[in-house]
Symmetry: C2
Subunit: 151 residues, 2 copies
């Protein structure tokens, strides 16, 4: 596997696992007619957050326009509903509807079966440590992330 440093190998594994994970997730997502972006949006709003389109885009770190389309579709399909935004009259907040909430629960239930498989041979302690490590990496990166991302 030629990784001189454990640090390097961690990043390599993140890349490999992402692909594997995506393929796995797609099976259950496609059954519901959802894309990965749809899923990410539901995830950001679950269980009861209310965010505007630009806010979701900033968290997902993708373009505002992309999330706009995704959110519009999810609203049409009845999984999201808009609410007035006290901070901005033209840019409503979006939150899960009851149906959207149920949908995401279903998705997670299906996925958790698969996850059990993946984590079957991994001690709880190691999972905790991995979570802590990845979370630290992620949060540090968030803070470093370009502060002037207007669009």
């Amino acid at each position: 596997m030629h990784a001189d440093s454990p640090q390097y190998e961690v990043t390599w594994l993140v890349r490999r696992l992402f692909r594997a994970l995506a393929q796995l997730a797609n099976t259950s997502l496609q059954a519901h007619g959802l894309s990965a972006a749809d899923r990410a949006v539901l995830e950001f709003l679950y269980p009861d957050a209310a965010l505007s389109v630009p806010e979701i885009a900033a968290r997902y770190r993708v373009s505002r326009q992309h999330i706009q389309v995704t959110v519009n579709t999810l609203v049409e399909d009845g999984f999201l509903e808009s609410r007035p935004n006290p901070r901005h009259k033209r840019s409503p907040l979006f939150a899960l509807t009851r149906v959207g909430h149920e949908l995401f629960n279903k998705i997670r239930a299906a996925e958790s079966e698969m996850l059990d498989d993946w984590f079957a041979n991994i001690p709880t302690h190691d999972v905790e440590c991995t979570r802590r490590t990845l979370r630290t990496m992620y949060c540090q990166n968030l803070r470093r992330g370009d502060p002037d991302a207007s669009d």
Copy 2:
């Protein structure tokens, strides 16, 4: 962050980190005119492996045709060279040229500076544990991966 289970959060973080990592890597990759797939191929061959196109595709778990194009380009650019394949007369093995080897070293050098940043606050022990965990997940998944992937 609403992750009920640490297992779930690990997968969530893998997804988030992949994107962050890709954006970071792109900076240095674009400087060399390489795509993510180019980089992956170099990575699989580094430091001195010799694999055929179908073999690389199987490891990267993408279509044979996609890797074919990538490898052809890398050969044209002088980063890979073909060698006769003892196991298959029509499907040569590919390996890094000296230039390709140097290129990948350069890429890793640039990336390792960024990695130092990411891992600055993470104890060695935790990195090791994370590596072990992710590697276990990845290897298990490989073994499970569809055995009859003809194309």
